[in-house]
Amino acid sequence: MKKIAVYRPTSTDEAIRILSSHGTEAAVYAGGTDLLVRLKNRLKQAPAYLVDIKKINDLRYIREDQSGGVRIGALTKLAEIVDSEIIAKRYPMLSKAIGMISSPELRNASTLGGDLLQEVWCQYLRGGYNCWRNGGYLCYGAIGDNSYYHSAMGGRLCYAVYPGDAATALIPYDAAVKLATPTGVQELSLEKLVPGDLMVDGRIQSHVVRHNEILTEVIVPPPRPNARTSFEKLRPRGVWDFAMAALALNLEMRGSVIDDARVVFGGIAGKPVRERAVEDYLRGKTLDAALIDQVVPRALTNAAPLKYNAMKIEMAKGLLASGLDTLRT
């Protein structure tokens, strides 16, 4: 492991000042379940300065807001979200999705902010290959074993899959986040937080957060009336593993008719894939077996699987069929 220095600021302003002074050599350290592994993996892109934000007050909470929605501090542990009665009662799909992340031990350590902003888990990156995210200029996943950790929906230089289940489950609730930045607080939608691979501060990453910005809060609007939600995840083992494919559904129903829909796939692309074509097709229609048969072929028509991962698309379509069927009954 490379030599590192650790700062322990007690306010977001102080943390931002430290982050700004070290540029991309510094990174936020919270739960550590991603960052410390990157250091242990001896990745070139791992930071030399860790800004431990756990001493900052008031970033770890789950509270109702005036609109009837919920605010979740970025330092809130995943296990605390799973254990939350408010979340379980009002956002059961989020509770289920987060309860399926990794293992109980890691959910006790991992934070919501860390899950949203985690680095990809491509075996070539983590194995120290000189790929796009690690000081090189080639995606080994695109030409090697891409059966698990790589996109079946195309890529932009890097073909690794965005691994965060929390984002997949939050987008159907139209959730947003707050970022503390050197110029003040910014609010943006979850969808805009993780738009897929892009270049930020000269690095390829899945999210838009700059090196001197800190994710502080997740804002979840009030649940929709008559909502039916579902989260399903396919993975090699029942715990620990990342999604081969995942699906988060949020349907606003009027009797058996779908008034509005959110359909978001995870584990198949460099970002959570909100499938608007399917949402549009579902809107205004009666949720029945015939509709499921009609809509599944309309999903993921722009898929671009690599050599070994076409099954991810079949898995995702299967989840759409089973997810809608679950919500039908």
Binding site: W132, Y137, I143, G155, L157
Partner: protein
């Protein structure tokens, strides 16, 4: 390498099948974006000059290119072909990429002092070709504008193969 001034393209369609073969699906949108970035674009091939220009004309790609170069005029030496093409465009080899899908192409790039970028059409073949130390690799021509921006953003001494 601090930035890219020019890109030399070898594979833009299945030319070995027929000079009238259609271009790759991603060729036109990629070339359009690269032209908008202000890059010098050169088409190069080991095929005879007439076959190459015939392909570029029939595929509608000719207008994108500032130069067309064939190894026919350099007795099959593609390294010399690359050097001459860049000299006539007044581009320093260190600021040029050569897009190729073969070991010979990577060797020619190295001989010319150009950065050879692997077009990874066939995954298994591409994995073998990584042993020839390409400067970079892409799956689609559409990734080239991002590659150009990435090189400029990182200004990396590493890029060079």
């Amino acid at each position: 390498m601090t930035h890219v001034d020019a890109i030399i393209f070898e594979p833009l369609g299945s030319l070995t099948d027929s000079p009238s073969a259609p271009p790759y699906d991603d060729a036109v949108p990629a070339l359009t974006e690269l032209k908008a970035l202000g890059l010098t674009l050169i088409a190069a091939s080991s095929l005879p000059h007439d076959e190459l220009t015939s392909f570029l004309d029939s595929s509608g790609l000719r207008g994108f290119f500032d130069g067309v170069s064939s190894a026919e005029s350099t007795a099959g030496d593609r390294g010399v072909m690359l050097r001459e093409a860049l000299a006539s465009a007044q581009i320093a080899p260190d600021h040029a990429l050569f897009i190729t899908d073969s070991a010979d192409g990577l060797a020619a790039a190295r001989a010319a002092g150009v950065h050879g970028v692997l077009m990874m059409n066939d995954p298994d073949e591409a994995m073998k070709l990584t042993a020839h130390n390409p400067a970079g690799g892409i799956v689609s021509l559409l990734e080239l504008p991002d590659l150009v921006r990435f090189v400029s953003a990182t200004r990396s001494a590493y890029f060079g193969g």
